[in-house]
Amino acid sequence: MSALPEKLAGYRETNLIDPFEQFVGPLYETGTGIARRYALIVDARHVNMRGVIHGGMLMTLADMTLGQAAWDACDHAACVTLSMQTQFLKGVRQGDLLEVTPELTRRTRSMIFLRGDYHVSGDTVFTASSVWKLLGQS
C-alpha cells in the first residue's frame, strides 16, 4: 500500500468489499470495532460541476460507514438498510477531509439504529440517521 497523505496520519485504508464502494473509495479508518472513525478525502470524482461534493456521494459515504458499524454491531451477521435520513448542512469541496465516528443509537433483536455527524475541520457538514434490519430475525 502506498504512503498515506499527511492529513491521514493515524489512519489506515479500509478493506472495501462491495464493487460500488471500491469504485468510489478509498476509505480510511482508525480505531477498532464499532468505535472506528472513518475518513474520506474528497477528490475530483466525488464533486459536481460546481466543485461541491455530490449529495449522492455523501449518502454513499453514510451507507458505507453506518453499514460498516451496523455490521460490527450485529457481530458480522447479514443486515440491510431499511431507511436513511440525511441533512446537508454545508457544502464540501474537493480536497476536504470528511470524518465520521458512527454512533449506535439502539440495537434490538432484529433492528439496528445508527447515526453519524460528518465533519470537515471540526464543522458538521452532513448528518445521517439510519435503520438497519438483521436478515433472518423477525
Partner: protein, 140 residues
C-alpha cells in the same frame, strides 16, 4: 450513442459531468401526467453492485438525489438548487442488468424551497421511496 436495452434510443443523457458522469450514464425519460412526473433511468452495471449481488444503496440514493435535484431545477426554473434534506426508504433490492427508473413529483414549491417526493421502480416493482427538501440558490 447506443443505449442499453430497455433505455429508449432517444433518451437524453442526464449525467454530463462530475460524480453523475462518473457513476453514470444516467438518462432522462419522457414526462408523465402532462409534465407533472419527471422520469430518469439507468441500467445497473457491475460497478454499481454490493457484495451481496444487489445494487448498492449508495448508488440508489445517488440516483434518487440526482433525479430529484434535476427535477427541482426543471420545475423551478432555477439555475442552481441544493439538497437540504433527503430521506430514502429501501423497499426492495435491485439486481445486475435491471433498468431502474425514477419518478419524481413536486409536493409544493415556494419562492426559495421545493418539496419533492419520488420512487425508484423496476418494471412494476418499487425499489425505493424518497422525500426531500431543496433550496433554490440565490434565495433567502
Amino acid at each position: 450513442m447506443d443505449r442499453p436495452a430497455g433505455i429508449p434510443a432517444d433518451a437524453e443523457i442526464a449525467s454530463t459531468g462530475g460524480f453523475n458522469k462518473y457513476v453514470g450514464p444516467l438518462y432522462r425519460l419522457s414526462d408523465l401526467e402532462d409534465g407533472m412526473v419527471k422520469r430518469f433511468a439507468f441500467a445497473a452495471a457491475e460497478h454499481h453492485m454490493n457484495g451481496a449481488g444487489t445494487v448498492h444503496g449508495g448508488m440508489l440514493m445517488t440516483f434518487m438525489d440526482t433525479s430529484m435535484s434535476r427535477t427541482s431545477r426543471l420545475i423551478s426554473g432555477a439555475k442552481g438548487t441544493a439538497t437540504v434534506s433527503l430521506t430514502c426508504d429501501f423497499v426492495s433490492p435491485a439486481k445486475l442488468g435491471d433498468i431502474i427508473e425514477s419518478r419524481v413529483r413536486a409536493t409544493r414549491q415556494t419562492r426559495t424551497i421545493v418539496f419533492l417526493s419520488a420512487e425508484l421502480v423496476c418494471g412494476n416493482r418499487v425499489l425505493m421511496v424518497g422525500t426531500g427538501v431543496w433550496k433554490i440558490s440565490g434565495g433567502e
